[in-house]
């Protein structure tokens, strides 16, 4: 579709503001003014609406398509949580209000949401405290690593390394590196789990933490997780839990009970807030009580009289990692989701998520290489002949492709996370398409190469994109 800037016509207006009801003010000195008006498009309301409505129609999305994008938990998000996030008492609330005297009284509902959410997440994960502030999973990781650094600093230790399995999500090493650590990669063994011997080798007193995802990105539960945790703790290292895959174990086991010290959750994955085409998310971080004193300020506390307020007096805090209290509206949606499901509902969630993934694995096992052919947790990883071709073929069948070429340690990986909200009928349709893709990739690979053909554009020249670096119409 034509770019919106090209649809501009001088003089057209969409939003009109009320005429000024105050006296004209003296013009600002010219040196403070921009030379020419910003070249934004001039459009009617219809122009804007038709443009973006038709753009939206060029997307696949959970509401329109099966979207088994591995590691992203593209579950269906109950609609009413959107309504809640639009309630004026939440959506229009100024974040500085609780920092004004008497203003806190007028934010009690919002603070209660944050407080209750922290309690719920502690209960779900077995941690002692949470900060709701991180805006996404990676942001949570960075916060978590900063907490780990603060912990060691408080012990007057300056440890240098963080250990990360080679199956880890890219954000883990990136977050640790950005926080100032060096990364040591731990390879996976032939079962797709952490190679403990290798771990032992690297696990020195200079290691600040091990960052793990459990189940890992192969969809496998680390069977020796307690052993790993014990080893780490023996060396004074902390255990970090990347909670992106919590959907697999909700209500079944708690990272806190498995020996983890720090955890981040992806509310936009496990707790069902929509992914927004790439965000916003929320990545709350939970810690065991030994680390609570380091949590970022402010902290929401409940006074004896039942009032909620913000506590900034945390001498050992790592400081401020967000302007306020986190992506509040995202947290709010997740809170509503948890209340809706309740404990039983959360347990059913993980059971169904794991069942759905195993159903797919069982049905597709014989058509694809399954690098680790055991049972999986909430997602399974298959290896295709050509993952990219299969992905594009699925698009033509109305299915959003699985995550491909990740984890990096599996060749031609197809990482499939069906989630609990999809029906057997949908899974069966997906399985049927996958089998057809497998057949075609043997019998007629050329046909696959032409896919997708039903989309507004076919395969794109990504090299040209990177070379031209045309990233804005200036």
């Amino acid at each position: 579709m034509e770019l919106i800037f090209k649809k501009s016509a001088p003089g057209r207006r969409c939003t009109r503001f009320a005429k000024s009801d105050v006296p004209e003010a003296r013009d600002l000195p010219a040196k403070y003014l921009r030379i020419a008006k910003a070249e934004l498009p001039e459009l009617s309301e219809l122009d804007v609406v038709r443009h973006f409505t038709n753009l939206s129609r060029m997307n696949f999305s959970v509401d329109t398509n099966f979207y088994p994008l591995g590691s992203c938990t593209m579950k269906y998000n109950p609609k009413f949580t959107e309504d809640i996030a639009k309630l004026e008492g939440f959506a229009s609330l100024h974040p500085l209000l609780p920092q004004l005297r008497l203003g806190g009284l007028l934010t009690q509902g919002a603070l209660e949401v944050l407080y209750c959410m922290e309690e719920l997440l502690c209960e779900i994960t077995g941690m002692d405290n949470f900060t709701m502030q991180p805006a996404a999973g990676a942001h949570g990781e960075l916060t978590g690593v900063m907490l780990i650094a603060a912990y060691h600093r408080s012990k007057n230790e300056k440890r240098k390394y963080i250990l990360v399995p080679d199956s880890a999500h890219g954000t883990n090493p990136a977050s640790a590196a950005i926080a100032g650590y060096e990364i040591i990669n731990i390879p996976s063994n032939e079962n797709g789990l952490m190679d403990i011997e290798h771990l032992k080798e690297k696990l020195t007193e200079d290691v600040a933490a091990i960052m793990m995802t459990c189940p890992n990105t192969l969809g496998l539960f680390e069977t020796e997780i307690d052993k790993i945790a014990k080893l780490a703790h023996q060396k004074g290292a902390l255990m970090y839990y990347d909670g992106a895959n919590l959907n697999a174990i909700l209500g079944k086991c708690r990272p806190g009970d498995l020996g983890f010290d720090v955890i981040h959750l992806n509310l936009h994955k496990t707790f069902s807030t929509p992914h927004g085409g790439g965000g916003p998310g929320a990545g709350p971080v939970g810690v065991k009580k030994e680390l609570s004193e380091f949590l970022p300020v402010s902290r929401v506390v409940k006074r004896d009289d039942g009032m909620f307020c913000l506590d900034y007096k945390q001498p050992n805090t790592i400081g401020y990692i967000a302007p306020f209290y986190g992506n509040f509206l995202v947290i709010l949606k997740a809170y509503a989701y948890i209340l809706l499901l309740g404990k039983e509902g959360l347990i059913r969630t993980s059971e169904q998520a794991v069942l759905n993934a195993n159903y797919i694995l069982a049905k597709l096992n014989k058509y694809f290489t399954s690098p680790y052919p055991k049972k999986c947790m909430h997602e399974c990883v298959l290896s295709g002949v050509n993952a990219l071709d299969i992905a594009k073929f699925l698009i033509d069948r109305g299915i959003h492709p699985p995550t491909i070429y990740f984890p990096l340690i599996v060749k031609e990986a197809l990482m499939i996370e069906p989630t609990e909200t999809e029906s057997k009928e949908t899974l069966d349709y997906f399985i049927e398409c996958m089998i057809e893709a497998a057949r075609l990739s043997k019998e007629n690979p050329g046909a696959l190469k032409k896919a997708p053909q039903t989309t507004p554009v076919g395969r794109l020249d990504e090299t040209k994109a990177a070379r031209d670096m045309n990233c804005a119409l200036l």
Binding site: L3, I4, F5, C14, V22, E24, A25, L28, K31, Y32, L33, R34, A38, E39, L40, P41, L43, F52, T53, L55, S56, M58, N59, S61, V62, D63, G89, F90, S92, L97, L100, L102, T107, Q108, G109, V113, A135, G137, A138, H169, G170, T171, A174, I183, P274, G276, G277, G278, G279, P280, Y320, A322, P323, N327, L329, Y335, A336, L339, K392, A472
Partner: protein
């Protein structure tokens, strides 16, 4: 145990009703009560937008991709820069990313920070860099604007960048062109944190010679939301593109030579580069960026200028009334946009509490962040404030102070 939708809805409606909904808002401090055209919500609520994820598969994500490309274009045009990313978490973390980027580009470790950069953001950047080898130099403000002499004193070839903000936290407008010149002379970069709505009127970071522009996009069609989700934007010069953090969408063609959009420059990113990535960011604020580009399309070239002017005029009107109140003075050493500093004859904390009882969120006390500014508060006036509300505000303030 689980509850029905109706029960959860009722519970949360009750909680929502405990929050303020009818305070007339004169609080800003970087987060403003602007009007959001209805269209923004309607379009951002398209399920195909908000229930999709990062457009890894471009063929079935052209909607999101083109919208981001248009967002990037709009941010470039707004800030006067050449390339923008697809969003960062918020204005504060964007500033942190900017200084990390400046450090990568220059290989230097000293950062000058103007004291009038939002203290909310300054605390953030200090927190993130605690474990890193970065030396910060805070430069106090002179008459409400950046202190040229002090900056010059600290500028040398050790400096990675200087961080500025316009309008600054006190509301003052400045033209930082001269500082950019000085900085570039010693190979330092200029990072400018901007208030995007003000750019309907004010000189752009690009025009001032900034190398990296960042800021909080909340004013572009995002509700205040008790602090989030917000929108960190970042734009820069083309030469720095590969050092920039975050997702970027680029234009290209498909096998039939049709124009299309895809994520590009991914080799900078964590999912490819892992510990060597320019940033750890993965999920960003895409839907907020979508809202911003819809907002900017709605108001358009003329509308943005108009709304910026309205903000300016209403604030000037408020200044004129407030300045007349006995014992109250409005700081006038530099021009302002829609926020300004007021000196009260009493502790603003008490005054603000009394004003809340009259239905106004009256302003933000500066003493929270600036110890020596005990009787100072900043007051913001957006286009939503009517003459009547402003008059009533001034009258209430007078009566709080003097009766």
């Amino acid at each position: 145990d689980g509850k029905s939708e109706f029960e959860v809805m009722r519970h949360l409606k009750n909680l929502s009703a405990k929050n303020a909904t009818d305070l007339v808002c004169f609080v800003g401090a970087g987060f403003y009560d602007h009007y959001i055209p209805s269209v923004v919500d309607h379009l951002a609520n398209r399920a195909e937008f908000y229930t999709a994820y990062t457009p890894y598969q471009p063929e079935c994500s052209q909607g999101t991709l083109q919208a981001i490309y248009e967002y990037q274009s709009a941010i470039c045009r707004l800030t006067g820069m050449e390339i923008a990313n697809a969003s960062l978490y918020d204005g504060g973390t964007a500033l942190y990313e900017a200084l990390m980027m400046a450090r990568r580009i220059t290989g230097r470790n000293r950062v000058l920070v103007d004291d009038a950069v939002s203290p909310i953001y300054r605390t953030i950047i200090y927190s993130y860099t605690k474990n890193l080898d970065i030396e910060f130099v805070e430069v106090p403000v002179q008459h409400g604007q950046s202190d040229r002499a002090a900056i010059k004193k600290h500028l040398d070839d050790k400096v990675a960048c200087i961080i500025l903000q316009n309008p600054n936290f006190f509301g003052a407008i400045d033209d930082h062109s001269d500082i950019s010149c000085d900085a570039h002379r010693v190979g330092a970069l200029v990072v400018e944190s901007a208030y995007p709505l003000s750019l309907g009127l004010l000189k752009t970071p690009g025009e001032m010679g900034a190398d990296i522009a960042t800021g909080e996009g909340q004013s572009l069609g995002l509700p205040l939301s008790f602090g989030g989700p917000y929108l960190g934007f970042m734009s820069t010069k083309r030469e720095f593109a590969r050092k920039m953090p975050g997702r970027v969408v680029g234009e290209t063609v498909d096998t039939n030579n049709r124009t299309g959009y895809c994520l590009t420059l991914q080799t900078r990113e964590q999912h490819i580069r892992r510990e060597k990535a320019t940033s750890n960011i993965c999920s960003n604020e895409a839907l907020c960026a979508l809202r911003a580009v819809i907002y900017l399309s709605c108001v358009g070239k003329e509308g943005l200028a108009q709304v910026a002017k309205l903000n300016y005029e209403k604030a000037e009107f408020a200044k004129s009334l407030i300045g007349k109140i006995k014992g109250v003075s409005v700081k006038k050493n530099s021009p302002t946009f829609n926020e300004f500093t007021v000196v009260l004859p009493r502790d603003p904390k008490e005054v603000i509490a009394a004003m809340i009882e009259k239905g106004f969120a009256a302003g933000f006390p500066l003493t929270r962040y600036y110890k020596d500014m005990e009787n100072y508060m900043i007051v913001a006036v957006t286009e939503k404030r009517t003459k009547e509300e402003i008059v009533c505000y001034a009258q209430s303030l007078e009566s709080v102070l003097w009766s």
